[in-house]
Every structure is written in structure tokens, then in C-alpha cells.
């Protein structure tokens, strides 16, 4: 005879690849979501012991404390060069950089473009929150036209400061890029999409398909002067129109993958 009983099942728990420490990020900052997605993907792929992360300079400077695998810390903007050094001597390890927009798209633009052009087999997690968070919310290369920051108090004047950089679109033009997409972290649906992209970025590396980068639109409630919930809305209303969610470069081999 069959008995039907109710049994409790675990739906979600903190990923093992995240260290058991509280982060220094402000309440509601989506850096934490990005960290979590990366850790979940690394758990799912079972590559924690094969990982070497490269932390950057900015709010994510302490990323090495929040992941439970080997990490090195790069000078401002140089994470892709440092990751190149690691990957070239350890080609069978997984190498990731975790960089913000000031680090990657301003001071480190040379290093990221060169790494992408070489088809460097590394994965880049790129957080775009339209300002320099760590130093108190100054204008970044990603700051939107008209956006007020502590160094563009009347709003970014494109006559003076020029235009924001659409990093994913730009890097996707390079032949060395295997996977370049933009995702957002502002709601559950987009977070799920972002996680799938993080997985595909690491799969790109696993299969030797070249440079992979996931640009993640992220919030900075503190420096934007918004509540965490308002900040999520601002990503949707202000950032996505300028930085559309999209697949800018996807190596055809990735479409065949069964994950």
C-alpha cells in the first residue's frame, strides 16, 4: 500500500563557494547578488578548488574575502592583465576577474580591451552601477547624461565630460570575445537570466571559446541617494534604456551546450 506524506525539501541555501562572512556592501547593494550568482555557478560546476579569482579596486576590492577559493588582488584596472598572467601559467584552472565600471571601463580600459582582443580564456564579471561607489559616488565612464554625482553636481554634461561607454557592445566587436552579454540585477526574472549568463561565461572558459564577460547592471542606493527598492526601479527606468539587456557576442558552440 502507498502512503502519501508531506516532506520538507530544501529549495535554496547559501552557496558553498561564498565564505561565511558578512560583506561590507551597503544594504540593498546588488554586488551581493552578483557574488551569490557567481558562487552558485561555481558550486554547480564543481570548480571551486580549480578557481583563481582576481579582485579589482573599488567596492569589490574585498571580493577575495567573500568567496571561498584562491584569490589575488590587482592594482586598479589591471585585473585582466593579472588574470592573463595566472591563466597563461595555469591554463587548466578557471580564472575570473570581478570588476566595477570605474576599474574596468575607465582606468582599466586598455587592459580589458587587450585581454578581450587576445581572446584571453578568462571570465570577467563586470558590475555597472553608473558611478564610483567606493570613493563616494563620483562620475564614472558609465554615468548617464544628466546624472548627478559628487563630481558632476549639476548632472553629467556631455559637452564637458563626453558620453557614457557601452562596454559590452564595444568589447563584442573584438574577434577574441567568445561571450559578451549585458544583464541586470533589478528583479527576479533578470537575476535568473543573469545567473544563466554567468554559467555560460564560465562554460565559455571551460570549452576554451575565448574571452567571456557578463556586464551586470547594478544598484548603488547609497550614492544614488535612493532606497534599495527605488534604486532597483532606477536601474529599470534610467539605466536599461541606455544600456539595453542583450547578447552582444555568443559563440555558436555555446548554443549547442546542454547545461
Amino acid at each position: 500500500m502507498e502512503n502519501v506524506t508531506m516532506e520538507e525539501q530544501l529549495v535554496y541555501d547559501r552557496p558553498e563557494s561564498m565564505a561565511s562572512v558578512q560583506t561590507h556592501y551597503c544594504p540593498g547593494c546588488t554586488h551581493g547578488v552578483a557574488h551569490r550568482l557567481v558562487a552558485e555557478v561555481i558550486d554547480e560546476m564543481g570548480i571551486k578548488d580549480n578557481m583563481i579569482g582576481v579582485a579589482s579596486v573599488g567596492c569589490s576590492v574585498f571580493a577575495y574575502n567573500y568567496f571561498d577559493f584562491d584569490f589575488v588582488q590587482a592594482p586598479h584596472g589591471r585585473a585582466p592583465a593579472m588574470a592573463t598572467g595566472v591563466k597563461r601559467v595555469l591554463p587548466h584552472r578557471f580564472v575570473m576577474t570581478y570588476q566595477g565600471d570605474g576599474d574596468l571601463a575607465s582606468i582599466g580600459m586598455g587592459e580589458i580591451v587587450a585581454a578581450a582582443a587576445r581572446g584571453e580564456n578568462i571570465t570577467v564579471i563586470f558590475l555597472n552601477n553608473a558611478n564610483y561607489g567606493m570613493t563616494g559616488g563620483q562620475m564614472a565612464p558609465t554615468t548617464l547624461p544628466g546624472q548627478k554625482t559628487s563630481s558632476s553636481p549639476s548632472g553629467r554634461d556631455i559637452e564637458v565630460a563626453g558620453f557614457p561607454i557601452r562596454t559590452a557592445e564595444m568589447l563584442a566587436t573584438l574577434d577574441g570575445a567568445g561571450y559578451v552579454v549585458r544583464r541586470s540585477l533589478h528583479d527576479p526574472k533578470n537575476i535568473r537570466m543573469a545567473k544563466k549568463s554567468v554559467r555560460l561565461a564560465f562554460e565559455t572558459q571551460k570549452h576554451g571559446l575565448g574571452f567571456s564577460l557578463v556586464e551586470l547592471l547594478s544598484t548603488c542606493p547609497t550614492n544614488w541617494g535612493l532606497t534599495p527598492i527605488q534604486a532597483l526601479k532606477w536601474v529599470e527606468d534610467a539605466m536599461i534604456p541606455y544600456y539595453p539587456i542583450g547578447d552582444y557576442k555568443v559563440n555558436p558552440a555555446l548554443k549547442e551546450l546542454k547545461i
Binding site: 590587482a74 589591471r78 592583465a81
Partner: protein, 370 residues
């Protein structure tokens, strides 16, 4: 092993290969480029890593990353490129990583020119990057010495988790001389207890130069200083020529030391009791040895291919107890033996009081000549 005729840059490159160089990252710049070119075919031939970086900034940070894994790594450049590497050099020092960098110096400041100079002495020996750190600096004066110093540089770097700089100049990089190469080692990949190569079977590791807590930073600073004391006690290298009965000495490093030796020989032939003191390790500097030597001399002549950068160290070390004179050429010009000989004559025949600054006197003389 038989001697071969080799260009300096190539000899340094092959010595590094034979020392077990695992990976090289660099950027072309005259007069160092042959080193990179040579390795671009030699390293892949041996199944080792060669990568031409997008800039010296890229190259030094690639070396930084690769050094974190325990691999034997090197980069090379020349003065303006070395300036660009200063950021990474400071980080490498702060992270306490073994790295070898070759600087084949040229004329400066700025773009300067591509002729030999020694004007990186200050930026290499006394820093250049921010923070308190001390690289080990070795200055070869001939190609055999360049080979031997490069071959040993990696062990030295790993022994002390330190940066080692081979400080050569354009003439050494470009000249050809017969020299003997050491035996070949396989590419070296170590797994020391600090390296980050994947955490399988152990706890995760972090390599960083950040210590936000000031006491922690100061602890690191003290650790680096104590290690430097140990290096100073154990790793001094220098060469002495004709100093046993000398009344006078020339002090010069690298190429200027080598040229000065010809002048010293010529002066000896005239009956002047003079010798040459050539520091090989510029850091740690042979301070004790030079001071002891100076106590039995009547005068010293410092010869450099710069405006007297090492001169300041010599003045400090000899505590201004004896007359010191200076002769320097700049702009990529080598001092000729006859010029140095004339300076020796001046030192011996027209001694000046120990007060005043030798650079001022040199400038005054040089001004008269030009």
C-alpha cells in the same frame, strides 16, 4: 661548456631560460627588444609561456599574476618602460612575490634617446614605486656576469620572496662578447605555502598588498624591513681591482665601472696607485666594504652615466672623511677611458678639500669644457 659569442640581451634571455623561466611577459622597447624577440621563439619552442603584452603596464601585471601561482617569471624593459612598470613593481613588493625584472637603461628623462645610460639608479635602487620596499638590484659589467647574475636571480628572488632587478644599460644589451652558458633547467613551477594555484586539498589563499588596518600595514612594513636587513647581511656582491696597495680608487658600476677599469690600468702604468671598486649588488650596496676601503685611501672618484645618483650613496657611506670627486656623462654618452684618466690625474694632482659637493665641482669643470 664552450664559450659562444652572444649579444647581451640574448645572453640574459637564454640565461633566464636555463634558470627555469616558466613565463615571460614583455613589451618591445629599444635597447632591450632583442631580449623579447629572442624569447618569442625560444619559450614556445620549449613549451613555455611567452606573451607580448599591450604595454609595460600590462606586462608587469601579467608577471604579477603569474608570480602569484609559484611560477618562475620575468619581464624586461628599458627606462621609460620601466617607469611605467613602477605601479606593478610596488604591488609586487607589497605582495612579497619573487619576480625578476631586467632594465636595460637608456638616456632620459622623458623619451630621452635609445643610447646607454645609468640614470635609472635612483628609480630602481631607491624606489620609484610608492611605499617602503627594497628590490635586490644587480648590475653586470660584462656579458658573462649578466648571464651569471640572471641565472642566480631567480633563486635569490624566491629565497626572499623579493623583486630582483638586473640593472644593465644599452651598451651591455647591444654588445657581443664570448661567454659561457650555464646548464639547462626545466621550467620551474613551485608550490610554496603562500601561492595561489587553486585550493584543492587545502584552505583558500589570498595574495594582496592591501592592509587597511594601519597596525597590520606597519607589521608588513616591519617584516619587509627585517627581511631587507637579512638580505643586506647575506647578499652583498662587489668586485675589487688593484686595490691591495691603492692610495686612490674609482667607484663605478656596470658599464661605467668597466670603462673606468681601462682608465685605472692606464693610470697604474703611469705609476699612480689607484684601483677600482665596482659594486655588483647596488642593493644591497657594499657599504661596509666601501667604508673600510675609504679609510685607507687619499681620495675617491665616482664615475657614472648620470648626474651623480650613486654619488650620493658613496658620500653617505664614506661619511665625507676623504676627498670625493665625480665624473659623469649623460644623455646616452659613454665616458671615455681618457676622460676618466684625466679626472684621475686631477684627483691625484689637485686634491680639493672634502667640503663642497663633488657634483658642483664637476658641473663647474664641465661648464668650462663646453
Amino acid at each position: 661548456m664552450a664559450k659562444e659569442l652572444m649579444k647581451g640581451n640574448v645572453a640574459i634571455a637564454e640565461a633566464a631560460v636555463r634558470a627555469g623561466l616558466n613565463a615571460y611577459f614583455g613589451y618591445p622597447i629599444t635597447p632591450q627588444t632583442e631580449l623579447l624577440e629572442y624569447l618569442s621563439s625560444r619559450m614556445p619552442e620549449l613549451g613555455r609561456t611567452f606573451l607580448q603584452a599591450e604595454s609595460e603596464l600590462g606586462a608587469v601585471n601579467m608577471v604579477y599574476g603569474a608570480a602569484c601561482t609559484g611560477a618562475r617569471v620575468m619581464s624586461s624593459s628599458s627606462s621609460p618602460g620601466t617607469s611605467l612598470m613602477m605601479e606593478g613593481i610596488s604591488y609586487i613588493a607589497g605582495t612579497e612575490l619573487p619576480v625578476v625584472i631586467v632594465d636595460v637603461m637608456r638616456g632620459g628623462p622623458g623619451l630621452g634617446n635609445i643610447a646607454p645610460a645609468q640614470a635609472d639608479y635612483n628609480q630602481i635602487v631607491h624606489g620609484g614605486g610608492h611605499g617602503d620596499y627594497h628590490p635586490i638590484v644587480l648590475a653586470p659589467a660584462n656579458i658573462q656576469e649578466a648571464i651569471d647574475l640572471t641565472y642566480g636571480a631567480f633563486d635569490l628572488a624566491e629565497k626572499y620572496r623579493s623583486l630582483v632587478v638586473i640593472l644593465a644599460d644599452g651598451s651591455l644589451g647591444q654588445m657581443m662578447e664570448p661567454a659561457e652558458l650555464p646548464e639547462m633547467k626545466p621550467a620551474i613551477m613551485r608550490t610554496p605555502d603562500w601561492a595561489t594555484y587553486g585550493s584543492e586539498g587545502r584552505k583558500k589563499r589570498i595574495l594582496s598588498s592591501i592592509y587597511l588596518d594601519p597596525p597590520e600595514q606597519e607589521k608588513t612594513n616591519f617584516r619587509l624591513e627585517h627581511r631587507w636587513q637579512e638580505i643586506k647581511a647575506n647578499e652583498v656582491q662587489y668586485k675589487e681591482y688593484f686595490l691591495e696597495d691603492a692610495d686612490y680608487a674609482v667607484v663605478g658600476f656596470g658599464t661605467s665601472g668597466r670603462i673606468a677599469l681601462s682608465a685605472v690600468r692606464a693610470a697604474r702604468a703611469k705609476g699612480i696607485k689607484i684601483g677600482l671598486f665596482r659594486p655588483v649588488s647596488l642593493a644591497p650596496y657594499p657599504e661596509k666594504e666601501l667604508f673600510e676601503l675609504s679609510k685607507r685611501l687619499k681620495g675617491l672618484l665616482v664615475v657614472e652615466m648620470n648626474a651623480g645618483q650613486m654619488l650620493e650613496d658613496v658620500l653617505n657611506i664614506t661619511r665625507r672623511q676623504i676627498p670625493v670627486e665625480f665624473y659623469g656623462r649623460m644623455g646616452g654618452i659613454l665616458p671615455m677611458p681618457e676622460e676618466i684618466e684625466a679626472e684621475i690625474d686631477l684627483l691625484v694632482n689637485e686634491p680639493t678639500a672634502a667640503n663642497g659637493h663633488p657634483r658642483d665641482r664637476w658641473l663647474a669643470r664641465f661648464g668650462k669644457k663646453n
